[in-house]
Amino acid sequence: MDKPIYRKPIYREGNASYNDSTLHYIRQAAEHGLYEIRGLGAKRQLPTFDDLTFLTASASRYPLEGYREKCDTKTVLGTRFAKNPIELDIPITIAGMSFGALTANVKDALGRAATIMGTSTTTGDGGMTPEERESSKQLVYQCLPSRYGFNPDDLRKANAIEMVIGQGAKPGGGGMLLGQKISPRVAQMRTLPEGVDQRSACRHPDWTGSDDLTIKVNELRELTDWEVPIYIKVGATRVKNDVKLAVAAGADVVVVDGMQGGTAATQQVFIENTGIPTLAALRQAVEALEEIDMLGQVQLIISGGIRTGADVAKALAMGADAVSVGQAMLMALGCNSPTYFQDGKEIDASEGYARLNTAAGYCHHCHTGQCPVGIATQTPELEQRLDPDWGARRVKNYLQTLNMELTTLARACGKSNVHNLEREDLAALTIEAAAMAGIPLAGTNWVPGEGL
């Protein structure tokens, strides 16, 4: 009789340094000799607004009735110099995302939903499409380093101008749009050869330092006869200095985009390894405005990983005047969803994800232009997968939910206006969040670093 074969049990000792994703990264690098480009924002674990909680009313504070009593959400942006500040019904705006990265249908859906909800939407690196101008009552026109499609006629049609210095996903880096997405229309709008791998500039062509920026902002004011607000957007790195410089340059509104902010295509190394978390960025931005006595005179918009009504409420309590949402809007439209809706039918999208070597829930392949749900593409067949009517309804519902959650929390804190939410209404749940947000750790008066 044969001796029984003895097999040792396989022991799999985890390796934190060379885990699945590191192994995948090294194999990709070895195979391609190029850095990985992808879409969306930082995926790593970071301190977020989830690490804060509200100290809602109780015996020492008086709540408002959650469903009845009025809680104002009106938000005015650009009161410093502009003759016509932007008046919004809700403090939740739609972030700049380009036609090119997204389809014209998506831009149209975002515009329509924003208009129904009384908020603004924003152009992107590729100019203003007639569709989005038509559908958006309040449209913010970005002035980007590339200046693709930037022109005085659209400038005069804008309700505000956003001078983009940087973006949370890639502060200090330029955008990209790979050849697959440079369709004839995109190429024409950007004055580029069709199919070229487009690398956007990271510096503006006509100014460099902050003194020049002051003169540039003045030119934009002169171009628009001081009528519309001028925002300055920065990616969150040296936030205190940058916010102060933006104010010194004459901004009506400063937009700070944290590390979790999204992109349609950038080097992964940028997305995961640059900038500071939105939570920390917001605290520093508010402090910067306080230090120069500009809080309330220059409005502050925070963006980068805002997903829920609670996120919005916490951002406002920490001192933001409004938030801006990008990625989550795409998710409301079906990004990373297992299905899409076409001609009234729900259709399985798993094959589309599989073709990109990914699955619903894990996709960050906006750069490929092969979006399985018809959002980040310029391919006519894929574009059909997003019906703009259906999309507009989804985005409207999502904005409405965020706003209801915001007012519910504000009322519970006893506030009849969401802008009255304050830092004192918050406590931190982790030491990191307490340190970054400057909010006491729950159950203590302790803010790490304070008093040092």
Partner: protein, 232 residues
């Protein structure tokens, strides 16, 4: 020209803001054909955002962003200018009788920019279809990332010329002191000769087009390629 068709504007007395508002709001329906702007004194953003066929003479030196985003107007500066003259020009023309500082015609989409003297660095940066003619020399990194249009340099060009060029074309009569990444010297075709001839004529320079060299894009940076120079 009838008196009503002419207007003087004294920037020593009125502000740039008043001037620009007049140019945007009142000029188009006024029938005015010619405006003289006195005492510019190096001020910025003079005559930006024009959208009317008018002749404008700026009598003296001016600052940054002169004639920015111009459409249709023909603007002449009788002096030197600071940075980014005629930035994002769409049509019409901007002429500088003296020298220009950096970023002449930055991201200009159309129209003509003429610098009779020298232009500093990054002349024609990011240009998207405008034409620029420089009577003298240009500084470093001129036509950086230029996408479309023509840059004609009658003098010399400093290093880094045409770095990361797309489809814009550069013509240089003098010395090229160094090309940027992906720029290359190419043969002058008949088409090039007539393009240069026409642009020189419009700009008012009398040089033989045959004395110009052509610089275009080698198009090596158009696509990601692991085996190409890793200059991404």
């Amino acid at each position: 020209m009838a008196a009503l068709e002419n207007k003087h504007f004294d920037l020593g007395a009125g502000s740039v803001r008043d001037l620009n508002q007049f140019l945007h709001k009142e000029l188009p329906a006024s029938g005015i054909k010619h405006i003289e702007i006195e005492n510019p004194d190096g001020q910025h953003s003079i005559a930006v955002g024009l959208d009317a066929p008018v002749e404008i003479d700026i009598l003296g030196h001016a600052g940054y962003f002169i004639g920015g985003m111009n459409k249709e107007a023909n603007i002449t500066v009788h002096g030197n200018v600071g940075w980014s003259v005629a930035e994002n020009i769409m049509s019409g023309s901007v002429r500088v009788k003296g020298n220009a500082s950096e970023c002449v015609g930055a991201s200009g989409h159309g129209g003509l920019v003429v610098i009779e003297g020298d232009a500093s660095s990054r002349c024609g940066i990011s240009m998207k279809g405008c034409d620029i003619v420089v009577g003298g020399s240009v500084g470093h990194m001129s036509a950086f990332m230029a996408q479309a249009g023509h840059l004609v340099v009658c003098g010399d060009a400093d290093p880094g010329l045409g770095d990361s060029l797309y489809e814009a074309v550069i013509y240089v009569r003098g010395e090229i002191r160094g090309l940027g990444a992906d720029a290359q010297i190419e043969e002058m075709s008949e088409q090039d000769l007539s393009t240069v001839q026409a642009l020189l004529q419009q700009a008012g320079f009398d040089y033989d087009p045959k004395t110009f060299k052509r610089v275009g894009s080698a198009r090596q940076l158009y696509h990601w390629n692991a085996d190409a120079h890793q200059e991404y």
